[in-house]
């Protein structure tokens, strides 16, 4: 019987392969988790959008907050803006990182569409973006009270994303829920 049994090895190996491929269908190869998960926010010293003060890590950490990477050239950012306003109204602290943008245009944009951000970091060269591992806008980082990055979402933040992923994590980190 032994020689016959050996002939089943290819079938067994294929079975493993098929399971792997089936699992693969559920995964998204384009999804790239941030390399900074569970690591502190990179240290930076960049000007704020309104007022000329320089912002550093100390100014923007201390509570669980969202960091939203946006720019006026990014169409999806415009689409998610309204939802960010809604979150800000509900008490979610959101800091903006104005990524590789023109400050004057950014200020006009906020004046026109509203400002959900506690503060906006001007990252004109994209250096903070590079340190964060940003590869496109919009991206939203969830940072805890100690300034440690906990999650990154690539793409628009909307109701579905908040309900399913960002929201629960935000509430969990907060301890006491703030709702949305």
């Amino acid at each position: 019987m032994a020689p016959r049994l050996k002939l089943f090895i290819p079938l067994a190996l294929f079975g493993v392969l098929a399971l792997l491929l089936a699992r693969g269908l559920q995964l998204d190869p384009k999804e790239l988790p941030s390399a900074l998960i569970d690591r502190p926010l990179p240290s930076f010293s960049l000007p704020a959008l309104d007022g000329g003060e320089t912002l550093t890590n100390a100014a923007v950490t201390g509570e669980v907050s969202l960091f939203n990477v946006w720019a006026t050239w990014c169409i999806t950012c415009r689409a998610e803006h309204a939802y960010l306003e809604k979150l800000a109204d509900a008490g979610v602290p959101i800091y903006g990182i104005n990524y590789k943008d023109d400050s004057a245009a950014a200020r006009r944009w906020l004046a026109e569409l509203g400002n959900p951000y506690r503060a906006n970091i001007v990252d004109a060269e994209g250096t903070l973006g590079l340190d964060l591992g940003v590869y496109g806008a919009p991206e939203t980082y969830l940072v805890d009270a100690d300034g440690v990055v906990r999650y990154r979402h690539v793409g628009e933040v909307n109701d579905r994303i908040w309900e399913n992923t960002l929201g629960p994590l935000f509430r969990e980190l907060r301890g006491a829920g703030s709702g949305s």
């Binding site: 020689p3 016959r4 002939l7 290819p10 079938l11 098929a18 491929l21 988790p33």
Partner: protein, 661 residues
């Protein structure tokens, strides 16, 4: 009306395919001659209706019928006619229709050229191919219908074909590639038929060989065209990226190479039967796996079609049934009795065994490397990338391992050979090869050890072939007579092996010796690269049919003598506004010169210019072309024509007569 006709034809093709899959197989089981005899006609019927469907879709494209969804998505009224036609397979649904039509073509070819096969065998072979056709036709009709309509909201014009695809490469590369992929289904079908019939012998190998060789030849040509197209189209001067979709075509080629050599052993000596059957299943399974990888979105690739997990699930299910079923059949029906046929350590059998080993290991290595990111992701171990640095590092040594064996192979004797004889035959070629390796690289840009090694091995191959040829011709009364006596299959082997040697030299030389320089140049500037002086003579504005271009004209000279005039362009297409770079290439047998424009730098009329010197790059593709020609040549061999007039032999007689030595 015509799309509906096409849709209907496709449905009819499916019905016939289902009949083909069931009835002859039942007939083979019950020894019902009538049922079995239906197979060839059913196969031709499937081809007829697939061809009608294909024709209907082609008509829709050529007539700008934008009510058909794939036409609207991939074509445009301003598109040149030839690209309107080839846009048919520039998308998922259409390329699937091409796939299944080519499969039907192969089925009909098997039906037409297999008069000498026993009825039972032919019935089973066609039925198995019918099963595959059922799978693909169902996939097409149920999830990817090419005839889906946009009525009543027909768009006024289409989205246009991706500009990168508006190129002659699109016209030939996919059809050739599919001819290869799909062609391995024939060897697969023969293998399954043999397992079903319980008769795995030299006759089976003899029947399978020509089909396998032709499929392999087409696949070689298809891959070669893809590489060449990427080279001139994409502008980065590269010719292979180990992208998952490229690997999806390369793996069947590697397995197919092992298969066609293994079939030789089974035909000539009745050995390695189990392994050969497994290789036949493996090669076609890789084709199917390739189809899955390209269309399911499981791996990221520049080549992938728009993906849909639902489609992926369908293909996976089909894959599971076909491959799982065939491997199950293999496990239950493959022979377990050890062959009593002997051969010595030093013999052609051993050399071919080593060949099988290396090519199978290469296939598995490429497979593992391609799937590794998926494995890591599935086990939540992180996101990894496996690219050219890895594949080049592991693949090149494997090929280097098989080349010494390839030099001895053609000369070697079956069953038993001797080291003394090998030494006698190959000492001179060996020394000459080493000499080549020591001397020839001196003609390149500096002495390079890798190139020396590649030249030595390639020369070893070529000189070994020359030695064998001279041996065979020596006994003849005249050179002409001697050459004419050699069978076509021998010539095919010579050409294919030479092609392989040329490929190796091309690949290594261009990797090691190519020189690239990116710099800012303004009209009047000159730059010297590898002894060639590139002078930017003038910048001109050119108006094309549907674009405006800045053209950078270059004069290239060497040692003061003019060599070429090149004109690279930076085009802005008026319709889409997209900007594309057109590289200018001066092609040569021993080197390519390549100029491409980047962006303008500053305001003084300077541009970012890329200059490439690429030695021996054409040898890569010419070598692959030689391999393809070699593969096709073997089929012209007289022995495949011998039985055309003979009656269809009953099942037992073929085997009893035994295989020719």
């Amino acid at each position: 009306m015509i799309p509906e006709l096409g849709h209907f034809a496709l449905i009819l093709a499916l019905c016939l395919a289902v009949t083909l899959a069931v009835v002859p197989l039942w007939g083979a089981w019950r020894r019902n001659l009538g049922a079995m005899a239906l197979a060839p006609s059913l196969a031709v019927g499937v081809l007829v209706f697939c061809a009608i469907a294909f024709g209907c879709l082609a008509t829709a494209f050529l007539q700008d019928d934008f009510s058909v969804r794939v036409v609207a998505a991939n074509s445009n009224s301003l598109l040149p006619r030839v690209y309107k036609f080839s846009a048919l397979w520039g998308n998922h649904e259409g390329s699937l229709l091409l796939w299944v039509t080519i499969l039907a073509g192969w089925m009909a070819a098997v039906a037409a050229f297999s008069r000498q096969l026993p009825t039972v065998v032919l019935a089973r072979v066609l039925a198995v191919m019918g099963i595959i056709a059922v799978g693909f036709l169902s996939f097409s009709l149920f999830t990817s219908n090419p005839f889906e309509r946009l009525l009543p909201s027909t768009p006024a014009d289409g989205n246009d074909l991706n500009p990168l695809l508006q190129d002659p490469g699109l016209i030939i590369h996919p059809p050739l590639l599919y001819m290869g992929y799909v062609g391995f289904s024939v060897a697969f079908a023969f293998a399954i038929a043999a397992l079903l019939g319980g008769r795995l012998d030299a006759a089976w190998a003899r029947w399978s060989r020509p089909w396998t060789n032709v499929a392999w030849a087409f696949l070689s040509a298809g891959i070669m065209l893809g590489s060449w197209w990427a080279y001139y189209e994409l502008g980065w001067g590269g010719w292979w990226f180990w992208d998952p979709v490229e690997n999806a075509s390369f793996m069947p080629w590697l397995a197919g190479t092992a298969l066609l050599h293994s079939l030789a052993v089974t035909e000539k000596r009745g050995l390695f039967k189990s392994w050969t059957v497994l290789l036949a299943i493996f090669a076609f399974s890789l084709s199917l796996l390739g189809t899955f990888l390209v269309r399911s979105g499981v791996l990221t690739s520049v080549h992938a079609f728009a993906t849909d997990p639902a489609r992926g699930l369908f293909i996976l299910a089909f894959l599971a049934i076909v491959v799982g079923g065939s491997l199950g059949l293999y496990a239950m029906r493959a022979p377990t009795v050890t062959s009593r046929i002997r051969f010595a350590w030093l013999s052609r059998e051993t050399l071919l065994l080593v060949n099988n080993l290396v090519f199978t290991v290469s296939t598995l290595t490429v497979l593992f490397g391609t799937l590794f990111p998926l494995v890591m992701d599935a086990f939540e171990l992180g996101k990894y990338s496996v690219g050219p640095p890895y594949f080049n590092a592991v693949f090149v040594p494997l090929m280097a391992l098989v080349m010494p064996v390839m030099g001895i192979g053609p000369l070697s004797r079956w069953k038993q050979d001797s080291a003394a004889r090998w030494k006698r035959e190959l000492l001179l070629p060996g020394l000459a090869a080493v000499a080549c390796g020591l001397l020839l690289p001196l003609f390149g840009e500096g002495y390079n050890l890798w190139v020396a090694l590649a030249v030595t091995l390639a020369a070893w191959l070529a000189l070994g072939l020359a030695r064998d040829l001279s041996n065979r011709v020596r006994a003849a009364p005249s050179l002409g007579r001697g050459l004419r006596r050699l069978p076509a299959s021998y010539w095919g082997m010579q050409l294919a092996h030479l092609g392989f040697a040329a490929c190796v030299i091309g690949a290594v030389a261009v990797s090691q010796y190519s020189i690239e320089h990116d710099l800012k140049m303004a009209p009047g500037d000159s730059e010297t690269l590898a002894g060639y002086r590139f002078t930017f003579t003038e910048l001109a504005r050119v108006e094309g049919p549907n674009y405006l271009a800045d053209e950078a004209r270059f004069a290239v000279s060497r040692d003061g003598r003019p060599v070429a005039r090149l004109a690279a362009q930076k085009r802005r297409y008026l319709a889409s506004g997209s900007v594309m770079t057109e590289a200018a290439i001066d092609a040569g047998l021993f080197r390519d010169l390549y100029v491409a424009m980047g962006e303008p730098v500053g305001t003084s009329g300077a541009w970012a210019i890329r200059l490439h010197y690429k030695p021996m790059v054409r040898w890569l593709w010419l070598g692959a072309l030689l391999m393809a020609i070699g593969g096709l040549t073997t089929v012209a061999d007289r022995r495949y024509r011998r039985h055309r007039a003979a009656e269809r032999a009953p099942a037992g007689e073929e085997a009893a007569r035994g295989a020719p030595a």
